[in-house]
Symmetry: C2
Subunit: 127 residues, 2 copies
């Protein structure tokens, strides 16, 4: 992320506390800056393989998944899976760490929570 | 939508009652059918103009907006706005009706709620 000082838009700030920082799009019109920032996040998940990868990682025991756990779910080559993981990582939806032979991935819950809140009902905390 | 008989995936069924029908992606892995169906919806909103259009429509007084209320928010031609509205409509995110001179748009809240729930925290109803 090269964006700086966007007071309303806090990509990672919602996950830690469980609070929802952003007005859902049905509450007040998204401004151009927010829309430009959100669109690439939705683009990153606008692919069936990436959606399934994100879900597999999020569901995985302990909240993280070895790349070796992910490739078996698809009839795709390792480099293709790696490409999709890179797109998710570059968007900030997942993060990873190499440990020995394998790379381990986990979801950034704040980013997912933000996307969910943006699309959610008027009151994210439910009335 | 040409998909038929998908018992889990109910594009429009969540908005009427406020219930969330779908397991969020962090609860159980998305299957290939769900992922193939969700990806085009995310693709439809993976564009800053379409995100803003969706938000403008959702926020508009009375829950619907005349196309004449939307074009002024953008430095884009009418046909370009119409194209983006068509993409949103074809994805099922919005619907429209012509009344006299103008076309009026409204959001399909069930589809938005479904996307929100898919990305949401483990317990959509909040613990």
């Amino acid at each position: 992320m090269s964006k700086q000082a966007l007071p309303i838009v806090d990509l990672a700030g919602t996950g830690e506390t469980g609070q929802v920082c952003c007005a859902p799009l049905a509450c007040e019109p998204l401004n151009a800056v927010e829309a430009e920032e959100l669109a690439p996040l939705f683009k990153a998940i606008a692919d069936p393989v990436r959606l399934r990868l994100l879900s597999l990682i999020a569901c995985h025991e302990g909240g993280e998944a070895c790349v070796c756990d992910l490739t078996g779910a698809f009839e795709l080559t390792g480099p293709t899976i790696s490409h999709h993981l890179k797109v998710l990582r570059q968007a900030g939806l997942i993060d990873c760490e190499r440990r020995g032979t394998w790379v381990y991935y986990w979801v950034n819950p704040g980013v997912l929570a933000r996307l969910s809140a943006i699309l959610g009902p008027r009151m994210p905390a439910m009335a």
